[in-house]
Amino acid sequence: MNLALPLLVPALPALGAAAGLATGKKYPGLARPLAVLPVAASAVLAVVVALQLGTGQSLDAATRLTPTGGPDISLALHLDGFSVLISLLVGLVATLVQIYSTAYLKDDPRYPSYAALVSLFTAAMFLVVYSGDLIVLLVGWEIMGICSYFLIGHHWETEDARSASLKAFLVTKLGDVPFLFGIFVLGADAGSFRITDVLAAATEGRLGHPTLIALLLLGGVAGKSAQFPLHTWLPDAMAGPTPVSALIHAATMVAAGIYLVARLMPVFLLSSAALVVLAVMAAVTMIGSALCALAQDDLKRVLAYSTVGQLGYMAGALASGDRDSAVFYLVGHGVFKALLFLTAGVVIHAAHTNSISAMSRMPDLRKRVPDAYWAMGIGLVALMGLPPFTGFFSKESVLTAAEHAAHGEALTRGAGPASAVPEAAGWIVLVAACLTALLTAAYSTRLWLVAFHGRAAAAPAAGAAAAEAGAPYSPEIDEADPATAEPPAMRWPLWVLAVPTMAFGLLGLRDNWLPSLLDGGSLRPTLATTVTGTGLALAGILIAYAAWRAAGARQAAATAGTAPADPGRLLLGPVHRFAQHGFGVDRLYSALFVRPTAAAARLVTFLDREVVETYVRGAGNGANALGWLVRRAQTGNAQSYLSALLAGAVLLAVLVAVGT
Amino acid sequence: MNLLDTLLRCVATLVVFLVLPLVIGQTEHKVMAHMQGRLGPMYAGGFHGWAQLVADGVKFAQKEDVVPAGADRRVFRIAPAVALLPYLLVLLVIPVGPDGFVGQAVDAGIFFVLAVMGIGVLGSLMAGWASANKFSLLGGLRTAAQLMSYELPMLLAAASVAMAAGTVSLPGIVDAFHWWWIPWQAIGAFVFFTAGLAELQRPPFDMPIADSEIIFGAYTEYTGLRFALFLLSEYAGIVVVAGLTTVLFLGGWHGPFSDSLGWLWTLLKTFALAFVVIWLRVTYPRLREDQLMRFAWTVLIPLALAQLALTGIVKVAIS
């Protein structure tokens, strides 16, 4: 197989980014082709690479990058089913996002740099996916971090965007520190940074500290993939443009963490403690985020919390030892979450607000954006996991994996012994996943109903609704004329994504379709989980609908013009208030870390200003005073100079005469 | 014995100093009168007014000694003496005849003469400044500038003769004189004599004390005896310059019967030169101040340098 093709996949977007940055100022007309074409070419190449590789194959190539004295760092390529599958997802989503962005950010003055950063982001994700070396992977990992910082802060004129970009950067970095150490320990234990070598070492049992390594790596995974307790940056990252959210949530940033764990699954299987931790993390994440999603009013925040929850699913699958189902879920989720975000962008574009309660007051929103209406419906059904959409199959695979793990016969698919996965982890994941399935269905239904089936009569005017207090700021408001329909570039990507949303899950039905690309083994849902999962989802839908009806009735009884019907409020009751603010995790962090840090900073500032600077100022003042004294002598009067000179000469003469 | 001899010579010089300038002054009166076709003073003393100068002296002595109110009295009073005394000292060393017929033989004769004559400038400056008069100050400054400018060509011309003679002693120079020195040193003689005229501020070089221009310059405020002293110093200057030119360039006592009549030759030549001085006064118009300075720096000094070169060449050639 030609090595140039897989190498070109990450290189093309990177080159496109460089070209876009270089020419963006002078030739803005070049920005669009430079943004779309390299990414699209990469996507095509990714397909070609996948086809060339075939199923069940893997490709390794490496060249030593630099001698380090310790384990070598090499520019290594590792292609197998996981990587080509995810690279397909990345290429698809990135291309669609770029195309979508040409319309979405049509009049943005910073579009060239934005597009270049998206390209770079994509290139970094490709690098992470294709890399066969942990250090090179880390490079892509960090490039993604900095790109996310810039992209989230795209609207840096607003306070929200600035703080959100900073927060995303700092929180992910916080996870990256243990991650870096984990890689070092792993490399040191395995004697190499090559992933194949590491995996070989793991299966041979040569790793000295598997628990330590796994826990350290989990820190980075939690940061990138937004798992509790480092998930807080992701909902805030909604301050960035919507296509960026789609990119981050679906294909690139958050997928990286899951992908890494899947990649290093044998290492994690060596430590049951780490799996339990991962399971607890996943459980807390998915339940908490689902509750939060039920309480959010901001459309994008709902989707963001939903992403967090779905990532919890994937983490749960990993904790159950089944990386196939995790990656299956990852790809499926990537497709429908990209669809949901792009749809949300269209809706927000049309509604001029992020707030779903404000949208509920718009009478003809449904008719204004029919594409979005239907696409959103498809995406939400997929999210709920109703058959036969993608979400159903992937969720079933996760539930199956958890069930197996709970019975002590985890589906490790050859990555490790089934006994490596503790039963506790399986139980935790299973219970949490079931609960989350219910909640997911509930908040999806709520979102759908509130956003598109609101009581139009309650809304006096669309413009006034946009200005409603409490509606989160939407920086995209002024970017297009609401009177005109959304451009085709914003509409047809939805349908492109809707197709795999509906059909991708079917690939897992036959063992020689998708599973053969992965580790092999079945991804078919079992009857028990199907009944449980679907039943729970239907229950959630019914509960939400009932609550919506109840809330609508209550609101109709009350005076018109008050808060619109929100089943979330009714369902959650007293918890609603906490859930709306993410259960106060931010506040907790603020109390635990931010404020002490700020206080320490203030202390340091005080020490620097008042104590250290006193010495500095004292030194300066001393020199000044000395200079003042010396300056007194410099009158410019030559005679006084001469007097001093002669007096000195006489004094010297006397001293010499007396001294000798 | 030695002291007595010195004293005697000094007294003799003093007598000469008091007599000769008067004679020159009287001559000037008469010569000018004749040249301008007028009578001149004719009554004082009888024959052609011979006592006119004496009468002038008496008149000056009788006049009130006025010192201007704003003047610096002491300097104002000393100035005439400072102007006069150098000429007296110079007269002391000018040899009149051979074999020690001289007031006082000084080893560095020319040098002494020029050095002492240089002091005379101080007198004019002091007078000009102390008078508290703008014209006086201007005149004094002009005098000083002129005297210092013309001292250089004078010195150079004298140096030429000293070079030719191989000595700076005045009697030595006269001793070494040969008749062909006159054409040889003619340029030097012209320079020396002209510069001497300028040193005396005699016409046509009398810009600093021109009465019609700056009302007698440094001497504006002087009256009576002090003014007479300035006049006397001018006439003494004529004697000195004429005498020095004689000694340096015209061979001094050389002439027929120089052993016995040497002093007569010296006197004759001196008087002839003094006559030329008077003659020039009547003949030439006054030079403007800038012309005067330019004449010194662009004519006399190059001429003197040329003479110096010529002397050097000839001197090397004949030795």
Binding site: V654 | D72, A108, F111, I119, L125, A145, S169
Partner: protein, 224 residues
Amino acid sequence: MSTLLAATGSLEPAARSFLSPTGAEVVFLLVGLAVLGAAVVSVTTKQLVHAALWLVVALGGLAVEFLLLTAEFIAWVQVLIYLGSVVVLVLFGLMLTRAPIGRSPDADSGNRWAALLVALAAAGTLVTLVADAFRTSWIDLTAGGGSTRATGEYLFRHWVLPFEALSVLLLAALVGAIVLSRSTSGRLPRPRAGKLRAGKPVGRPAAPAATVPSTAPTAPAQER
């Protein structure tokens, strides 16, 4: 007689003493006192031109001292250069800088007392040193040591090169003086009223003093 002198030759220094000065020494002392007095008056008098004239006295006295030290030629050079030229130039300078007749109150600057202190200290040191060092030294004067002939011989036999170098120096000084004193109205900045002061705009305050130049310099003369 001569044999007696030769016999006492070695004893001669002992015979000399301060108590039996020779005639030349007495004259030297008297003239020296006059010179010193004139010099002191010259540096202390408040009348500027008088100071120059007292300088003439001091320098003339020094010429006499040179004569007494048998440096005849140098004495005449002293008269020619110092009395005839330098002092005249100094008087020129004083008059061109408008020295007033009578006392100038600001002839001495503020650090007069420091100057006096330094001068006295230097005098004490030097005199102590010199007197201590040359207590027993006598000069044997011989006539003709500084005559014109002797001067010419040593000057043009041993000192020709420095002599020529000095001529170059004089030429340089001549050129320098001419360049400095040329009227350079076009190139020089216009005179300012006072010194440059920080914080004030330069240029505007200069105008009055430049247009009426005669008022400022005459002010000291009127003060008297």
